[in-house]
Subunit: 254 residues, 2 copies
């Protein structure tokens, strides 16, 4: 039996990145696509609890796979797929290919990765793919080869409980990519800068912008791998407990 693959993303169901990932997934298994009906970048692990959700079939003409657009967040898409649209649990859940990096601290803000984390919470081996190129017309040819390789490994080997994968691919032609490195999340931050403007009524409003700063000098980080032309693969934990800090905080006067 062909594996059942759930496909989602955060750039929306019509983004070139998810179309590339669908092409790869169709070569490997039966697929269900449930993806946002509009861009949902930066939505993190948001879920829709104060309003309603809608799902609509989008490819009524294609017979070999099903696609639904969803009015909610990437995490809503995974929940709806599993809770409502699928008769059985998918074998794997894949998210992306994101237009832009989700390396280091970006994993926390990323809708793409939150969808993979949600798949992982549901007990499904899950991976998020991102290409380090924000352009709509980004070239996904190298990413497709990388994604296929990782998906085949994921299907064969699975993942430890509570762990999913954050895969970032450098903006390079396939021949220039140096390899694939399993690494850790770099310690990096966004230094926020708010662009202040005035609306036509004279009131202030703001756009969130920022400058990315890698604070991590380590050789074993995703940022370093990408900088050196490697694909980075970071295993991500859904147990957020800082186990190493428990004894320290037990010393508090509580």
């Amino acid at each position: 039996m062909r594996p059942l693959i759930l496909v989602t993303n955060d750039d929306g169901i019509n983004a070139p990145g998810i179309r590339a990932l669908i092409e790869v997934a169709k070569e490997i298994g039966d697929i269900l696509v449930v993806a946002p009906d509009k861009p949902q970048s930066g939505m993190g692990h948001a879920i829709t609890i104060n309003s309603t959700l809608r799902i609509n079939p989008t490819n009524v003409t294609e017979v070999d796979h099903k696609e639904f657009s969803c009015s909610g967040t990437p995490v809503d898409c995974v929940k709806l797929a599993i809770g409502r649209l699928l008769d059985r649990k998918p074998d794997i859940c894949i998210s992306g290919i994101n237009h832009g990096s989700n390396s280091s601290i970006n994993v926390i803000y990323s809708g793409t990765m939150s969808a993979a984390v949600e798949g992982c919470i549901e007990g499904i081996p899950s991976v998020g793919f991102s290409l380090c190129d924000y352009a709509l017309e980004a070239n996904f040819e190298a990413s497709k080869i990388i994604a296929k390789k990782i998906i085949l490994n994921l299907l064969e080997k699975g993942l430890p409980n509570g762990v999913c994968l954050n895969v970032n691919i450098p903006k390079l032609p396939f021949d220039a990519i140096q390899g694939i490195k399993v690494c850790r999340q770099a310690n990096a931050i966004w230094e926020e800068e708010f662009d202040e403007r005035k609306d036509p009524y004279g009131r202030n409003y703001y756009w969130l912008t920022g400058v990315f700063k890698n604070l991590d000098g380590g050789e074993d980080t995703d940022e370093m791998a990408l900088k050196n032309g490697f694909v980075s693969v970071v295993p991500i934990e859904i147990d957020f407990t800082a186990h190493h800090a428990i004894d320290e905080i037990k010393k508090w006067q509580l």
Copy 2:
């Protein structure tokens, strides 16, 4: 000099929970409140990048502290406070008191906790407080005593880099609370159920609902602490790397 305390939440600036936390914080230090202008529960670590942000002063009559409502998410509130409203980094960042539990897996979906995580990313000792009572008219008297004790410890002892605290308080009168336990995040999930309805035009829509399931039999979890009448304190990590899984995944054929 009195410490500078940044206060936020996800239930919105007018929620009784944040009013209770403001009362506590004012006894301890100078405060800046930046909180969402509407409920933002379940927003996780979402940030606003596809639309604009507004901030408005809300207590123009009170002289002893400043409050601003923000059109964005809890994480936006923290970013705006630090990037735009404050001249210096706050000494601590406190979020809540949330109306409802953020224990175990809820930490991932929680706007309250994501605000604390964002404070932590910015290098500020941060804590999120939640009372296990979803009611608007919840009684925060015991929570205020607990919050004060933890805030005073936080100011005195600080936290390790990259670690913040997730504090959950059982719905009990203060005298019935058994103590404060430092613990780990329980392995628990929400089993989704989607409530399907028809709109006046005959089209389907869905409400996300679910049943909480604790899959963790451990004695050292937040769920167990709360069940036994203790306050749970879980240190939360912003390095999401599953370090223990790196060697396993290095064995893949990549």
